[in-house]
Structure formats: structure tokens, C-alpha cells
């Protein structure tokens, strides 16, 4: 049997190599990606556990103590809080980064930084926003970046706040500066809630004022969403590659059997049964498959670690651990691939049974073809021609198989891409289970906002709400949101003109200046519901 398999393999060397290579690539990518993806989730979970991070995280932008209120809830085990400030800082690449700065290193495996220094969450390093030694100002206080740490809580690029740690003294300096937004993070550990009880975390009365309330599940999703998207795309590519591999297999088998008619017939004259011939084919083709798979398993030891590192960095984390091979994933992929290959091989082996040993005699092959061969299309009428063409198609289904397979693979791929595209269209959060904003309300009136929130809350419980101060302006036909500042944030650089000094001075962004074709010193008319006045433009 080994000899026969050898002769079959040697007869189709190029195909065998192609099949092994395609299997290798598709198995390698899928094993690598799935292993890295699973590792990403499990390592994230264990890091979260070892850091003793909370079941629920609440962020509140005020000065009052928030722990007592939360502690009184029935399903809350314990609450600790971190006090800090939230500040926008300008990163190297001109990006605005929102930082939650505190001096609390509990739950962090971290030494307190020196005075006037700051340790940042590692995403800010991997995204090239900062490096050690960089300096920036918070108000009047200059801070130097002393290092980075992996932040499993707010380090994900999907969170709007990144963390920074400073010493106690530095914290006091920062807090004492005027105009800093005081903020608190409450770490809540919950117990399983008793059924039908009230006064639970979900009924927390102050949650309407909370900037964010995230539970553990959501935080994990934020850390797995980017890898999920990447993994999906790559898996799709791997599936496509494997489809091509199956297609090559089928083509190689059909053309190989056709080419090897005499050889197969000779095997039969030597006393091989149909089953043995089929088995030889199955073994040689599966063999080539298995070579690819084996190579993939071996190579995936290395590549899964690379992919995992990539995922880990996508999450804004740097200290990746070694990933062992995932037996379950490897065996499932092997099973699936071998299964599909076997099906394709068995389907393609049908012609073997119909080869008579007599085909071993020279010339009998051409006789068979000429006796059952061609269709005469010359004299028939149109409808008959279509019927004949259809008959022709059915007869030559083997030849069209190539075409059919390519088309169906193409359709499959386009459908997948369309679904992905559809899924991502503005609802990434929903698709991956991240909380989405259900309602946006716009009002300049704080009291009105509170009242509305309370009213809505009686109809349907609000989990958390945040607010953003911005103004929309009407530009010819487009509504453009603009941020309105009463005090110029330090990261805004004045390009020309000057900071507003008089009550009617106005500083506009350079982009808006261009859009409106304005220049410094010109007068614009700002019309609001309550006010209609003229402003003098300077530029930033």
C-alpha cells in the first residue's frame, strides 16, 4: 500500500505540495488566531482577578463621598474609592488624552512615583503618545513621565479615560489648582443579588449623576473587542484559503484520476479492489493535508505567541506572558479540516469505480470517449439547443466544477464581507455587547437635564449618564458641534490673534476659520436662542 501511495504522490508532486502548503497556511492562521484569541481572554481574566479589580466601577465627577451611598445597597459587599482629577493632556502626536490622575496604588503592582513625576497606563506608550522622560503640564504643574504600567481596568483604547499615577504630594498640588475637575472612582464588589429584593446596585439613586458605571463583563468586552474584529477577519481569510485548498484537491483528484486511468486500471489488473485504490488516494491526499496540518501545529507554537502579543498590545497592554498550545483548538481545527478534506476526496473519487481493468490496455480509453462523447448542436432548433446545453452542462459537471466552486467561494466571501460591513455600520458596540448610548439629550440647562433624567428613569431605569458641554452652530446648512470653553485649556495653542480679553472676543479653530473664510479681526454674528450678538474673531 505504501508503494502505491508513493506512486500516486510522485505522480502529482506539484498538487501535493500546493495542497500541503495551502493546508499549512490556512491551518496555521486559524490555529494561531484562535489560540491567541482564547489566550487573550483567559490571560485577561486572570490578570483582572489577580489585580483584585472590581465587579462594578463607578465614576463620579464630584467632591462628596460616594462610598456610603453605594455601601448601603443590598447586593454590595464592599466599596473602596480612589480620589483624583480628570484632565485633558496633549500627547506627542497632537492627540488629546483624557487622564484620570490619582495617587492611589492599591490594586496596582506599582511603586509610587517621585514628586512631579507620573506613571501612565501602558496604552499611552504602545500608541506612541508618550515615552519616558516626556513632560506635560496640568494647569501650572509640569509632570515628567517616569514609567508605564499595565492597566487592566481603564487601559483599553476603547475607554475614554486613561490612568496616571502620581505621588501624594504631587496630587495635593494638582488638586489645589483652580479649575481642576475633581473625580472619584468607586470600586464595588457585589454579592449575588437576592431575587425580588429592592435597593440594589441597579437602583442606586445617584447613578444618574455618574459619569460611568461599568461592570466586569463590559470591561472585559472592551478588552476583547478589537481582537475579536481582527480574529474574525483573519479567520474569514483562513476559511477562504482552506476553500481554495479543497478546490485544488478536487481539481487535482479529478484531473489526476483522468490522467492516471491506465495506472488505476493496471492496479486493478494486479488485483487491487476499488476500495484499495480509493484508500490509496484518500491516504495520499489526506497525507499531504496532514503534513500541512502537522507543520501548522508546530509553527503555531511560535506564531500564537506573536499573535497573542499583538492582541495584548491592541488592548493597550505590554507585559505579555507565554501562550501554551491550545489542544482543544488544535484538535477541533484538525478534525474540521480533515473532515472536509475527506468528504471532498471521497466525492471526487467516484470516477475510480467506473474505470475497468480493461482500460489498462492501450487505446481503450479513447474508444470509450468517442463512443459516448460529443453532442451535435448544428441542426437543432433554439429551445432544444438550450436543453442540450443543459444536458451538456450536466455531463461535463466535472469540468464546470472548477467554475462553480470559484463562483460559490466568491459569493460566500462577498456575503461574509457584506454581513461584517452591515454589522459594523455604526453598531460595533451593540454587536460586541458594549453598552451603547440609547439617548442623547441636548439642553443648556442643568436643572432641566436632571429633571428629564429623573423622569426618564421612572419609565425605564437608566444605568448611567454622562454629559458633555458643547454647542452646535449652524453653518449655511450644516450643523457643527463645537466645544465651548469659558477658560482656555492649556493644550490649546493660539496660532494668531490673542486670547479673548474683552467680552466680545472670540477664538475660533483654524479649521473653522478656513471653512467660514474668515480672518483675524473680522466680525461674526453669533445667534442663539436667547442672544444675538457680534463677536470679534481671533484665531487659534
Amino acid at each position: 500500500m505504501r508503494k502505491i501511495i508513493k506512486s500516486l504522490i510522485m505522480g502529482q508532486k506539484t498538487f501535493m505540495v500546493t495542497i500541503a502548503l495551502l493546508t499549512f497556511v490556512s491551518a496555521l492562521t486559524s490555529m494561531t488566531i484562535l489560540t491567541a484569541y482564547r489566550a487573550n481572554i483567559s490571560q485577561y481574566r486572570s490578570a483582572y482577578r489577580t489585580d483584585q479589580l472590581p465587579d462594578v466601577l463607578v465614576k463620579m465627577d464630584n467632591d462628596n463621598d460616594i462610598t456610603t451611598g453605594i455601601k448601603s445597597l443590598k447586593n454590595v459587599k464592599n466599596v473602596t474609592s480612589k480620589v483624583g482629577i480628570v484632565s485633558q493632556v496633549m500627547a506627542k502626536n497632537d492627540e488629546n488624552v483624557a487622564l484620570f490622575i490619582s495617587n492611589d496604588v492599591s490594586n496596582l503592582n506599582l511603586k509610587v512615583p517621585d514628586n512631579h513625576k507620573i506613571i501612565l497606563s501602558s496604552y499611552l506608550k504602545s500608541s506612541d503618545n508618550f515615552k519616558v522622560g516626556d513632560t506635560f503640564k496640568i494647569g501650572q504643574q509640569q509632570l515628567t513621565v517616569q514609567g508605564f504600567y499595565d492597566d487592566h481596568l481603564l487601559g483599553s483604547p476603547l475607554f475614554k479615560y486613561k490612568q496616571g499615577i502620581v505621588s501624594k504630594e504631587t496630587m495635593q498640588i494638582l488638586q489645589s489648582q483652580k479649575g481642576q475637575q475633581k473625580s472619584q472612582l468607586a470600586f464595588v464588589n457585589a454579592v449575588k443579588k437576592a431575587e425580588n429584593s429592592s435597593n440594589l446596585l441597579s437602583d442606586y439613586p445617584d447613578r444618574l449623576q455618574a459619569d460611568l458605571i461599568y461592570d466586569k463583563g463590559y470591561i472585559q468586552k472592551a478588552y476583547t473587542m478589537l481582537p475579536t474584529i481582527v480574529a474574525l477577519v483573519i479567520i474569514l481569510a483562513a476559511v477562504f484559503l482552506f476553500g481554495i485548498c479543497l478546490f485544488v484537491m478536487r481539481f487535482a483528484l479529478l484531473s489526476g484520476i483522468d490522467k492516471d486511468r491506465q495506472k488505476i486500471a493496471t492496479f486493478k489488473t494486479l488485483g487491487m479492489t476499488n476500495r484499495q485504490v480509493n484508500l490509496a488516494y484518500v491516504m495520499s491526499y489526506l497525507g499531504s493535508n496532514l503534513v500541512g496540518l502537522f507543520g501548522a501545529v508546530v509553527a503555531s507554537f511560535w506564531t500564537s505567541n506573536l499573535a497573542f502579543k499583538f492582541f495584548w498590545q491592541l488592548n493597550g497592554l505590554t507585559s505579555a506572558q507565554h501562550v501554551p498550545i491550545n489542544i482543544i483548538i488544535v484538535s477541533i481545527i484538525t478534525l474540521i479540516m480533515v473532515g472536509f478534506s475527506t468528504i471532498i476526496i471521497l466525492l471526487s473519487l467516484r470516477p475510480v469505480g467506473s474505470i475497468s481493468p480493461a482500460a489498462a490496455f492501450q487505446g481503450s480509453q479513447s474508444k470509450v470517449i468517442s463512443s459516448s462523447g460529443h453532442l451535435k448542436l448544428t441542426k437543432s432548433k433554439m429551445p432544444l439547443q438550450i436543453a442540450l446545453a443543459f444536458k451538456d452542462y450536466r455531463q461535463k459537471i466535472g469540468h464546470y466544477m472548477t467554475f462553480t466552486l470559484v463562483i460559490s467561494l466568491f459569493v460566500f466571501l462577498s456575503l461574509m464581507i457584506m454581513t461584517l460591513n452591515q454589522g459594523f455600520k455604526g453598531k460595533i458596540n451593540g454587536l460586541f455587547g458594549l453598552p451603547s448610548v440609547d439617548l442623547i439629550m441636548q439642553t443648556p440647562n442643568d436643572t432641566l437635564r436632571h429633571e428629564s433624567l429623573q423622569k426618564i428613569n421612572t419609565i425605564t431605569p437608566i444605568k448611567s449618564s454622562g454629559y458633555n458641554q458643547e454647542t452646535k452652530i449652524l453653518l449655511s446648512k450644516d450643523v457643527i458641534p463645537v466645544h465651548r470653553y469659558s477658560q482656555i485649556p492649556h493644550e490649546i495653542k493660539v496660532l494668531s490673534g490673542h486670547q479673548p480679553k474683552q467680552s466680545k472676543d472670540l477664538l475660533l479653530s483654524s479649521n473653522l476659520m478656513k471653512t467660514l473664510h474668515l480672518s483675524v479681526g473680522q466680525t461674526v454674528r453669533v445667534k442663539t436662542v436667547t442672544n444675538d450678538s457680534c463677536w470679534y474673531v481671533s484665531n487659534n
Binding site: Q262, T273, Q276, P357
Partner: protein, 250 residues
């Protein structure tokens, strides 16, 4: 002396669509005979050989071997019969490329599995040596001459010590020297008791026959026995056989 028959063909017909190639053939093949089938091109010689040897299935009729009708055999029983009881030699050799000479010869022996691999290899080497191929055992098939290839094919056909050896134009693709070598080794085997059924249109090959069947118009047109081949009386034999064949309309 009456020879025992090894194959009995009864009322065998073979049709291709409406084309009747063989019609109601009755025939006995005798043990230890060198039977040669001759006839005009396209007469159905190869077809007859294929139908007797289970390479093809007759449209109707029986082929009795060992009191069993071969035409009723299942795929499994057929393959067993082909492995164990017959050997085949083709005009185009039909050796398996990508395998060495020795591997080709061993192949049917390893398929049969009635002996150990060592025994099979041992006998393959003996056969190849006997056929003057001892220097070529590990060579690739593609490097052999036509005559060498056909001798490898003979060794392959004999590896399982078959009851009958079938050959279809074994000298058809060879020059005359190589052809003679091949015929000599067939004759030698026949003299050692090997039953041979050979199709040919080559007079030189026909000279080796104990018995010649002449096929024409789908029937056995002539059937004649000759004295066993003797190289020293080749001239007389040639005249005898040639004149008979001419009688048959060759």
C-alpha cells in the same frame, strides 16, 4: 494424453452498444499449454483475452475457473482471483513509474500478503536475476529499454506464481532482438509448466505456441494444436504454422 482444462468458456458474447464483437464463443484453455490467439486487426483478440481474464465483463456467457463462474464474482473475489491466479503482460508494459524495478515486481506479492515481505523480495530478486536484470533492481523504470521493461513486467506477472499468464501483444512495442528475448523467457516458463495465453499478430511469437486459436468475425475460426516448441526445428515449424495461418486467411 488428455490435458485437464483450466478455464472453460461457455457461450461468451461481448457487444459494444449495437456492435457485436464476440458471438457465443465456446472454448477450453488447457493447463500447461502455450495458447496463442491470432486474427486480423480489430477481430476481437484483445477483447476475448480481457473477457476470459476478468479484465472486462462479457455481455453474456460464462467463464468457469475451478468450477466457479468468474463473471458472477464480486469486486473482492475478482481482485483475489487477479492477485493470486493470474498474471498479466501488456503491450505497453504498464509498469508503475516512480517505483523502482524491484518495487514494481514486488507490488502484486505485497498486495497478496500470503507471504512475508522478505520472501516476496527474495523471489522477486530470483525472478529478476533469471531474466537477466540483476544489475537493475533499484533502477527507475524510466531508465530501462523496452525489452528490459517487458522482462520486468514478466517478473511482476510471475511473482505470485499464477495459474495462468495472460499476455496481449507482449512483443508489439519491441524491436526483434528484444522481442526474441521476451519470447524466450515466456517459452522457458511454459516449459517449466506455466500456462500461457497470448494474443499476437506476430508470426515469430506465434511460433512458440502449442495451440493457435484464430479469431475472425466474432468467432473462433480456427483451432489447432502443434508440437511443443523446439528451437532446433524452427524452419519446419515456421512453414507449418505459416501455411495454416494462410489457410485461415491471415
Amino acid at each position: 494424453m488428455s490435458k485437464s482444462n483450466i478455464i472453460k468458456v461457455q457461450q461468451l458474447s461481448k457487444h459494444y452498444e449495437n456492435h457485436k464483437i464476440l458471438e457465443n464463443i465456446d472454448l477450453d484453455i488447457f493447463e500447461s499449454d502455450f495458447t496463442v490467439i491470432m486474427g486480423p486487426s480489430g477481430a476481437g483478440k484483445s477483447t476475448l483475452l480481457q473477457n476470459i481474464s476478468t479484465m472486462d465483463k462479457p455481455t453474456s456467457g460464462k467463464v468457469i475457473f475451478n468450477q466457479q463462474d468468474l463473471t458472477q464474482f464480486t469486486d473482492k473475489k475478482l481482485s483475489q482471483f487477479r492477485k493470486k491466479d493470474i498474471g498479466f503482460i501488456f503491450q505497453s508494459f504498464n509498469l508503475i513509474e516512480h517505483l523502482s524495478v524491484l518495487e514494481n515486481v514486488c507490488l502484486p506479492g505485497l498486495l497478496l500478503k500470503s507471504e512475508s515481505k522478505q520472501q516476496v523480495i527474495q523471489r522477486a530478486k530470483q525472478l529478476l536475476t533469471g531474466l537477466g536484470l540483476d544489475g537493475h533492481m533499484d533502477q527507475a523504470i524510466t531508465h530501462l529499454s523496452g525489452g528490459q521493461k517487458q522482462r520486468v513486467a514478466i517478473a511482476r506477472s510471475l511473482i505470485n506464481q499464477p495459474k495462468i499468464l495472460f499476455a496481449d501483444e507482449p512483443t508489439g512495442a519491441l524491436d526483434s532482438t528484444a522481442g526474441i528475448e521476451v519470447l524466450d523467457s515466456l517459452t522457458l516458463n511454459n516449459q517449466n509448466g506455466q500456462t500461457i495465453v497470448m494474443v499476437t499478430h506476430d508470426l515469430k511469437a506465434a511460433l512458440r505456441a502449442d495451440r493457435i486459436l484464430f479469431i475472425k468475425d466474432g468467432k473462433i475460426f480456427g483451432d489447432r494444436n502443434f508440437t511443443p516448441y523446439d528451437a532446433s526445428q524452427i524452419k519446419a515449424r515456421r512453414t507449418e504454422i505459416e501455411s495454416w495461418l494462410q489457410e485461415m486467411g491471415w
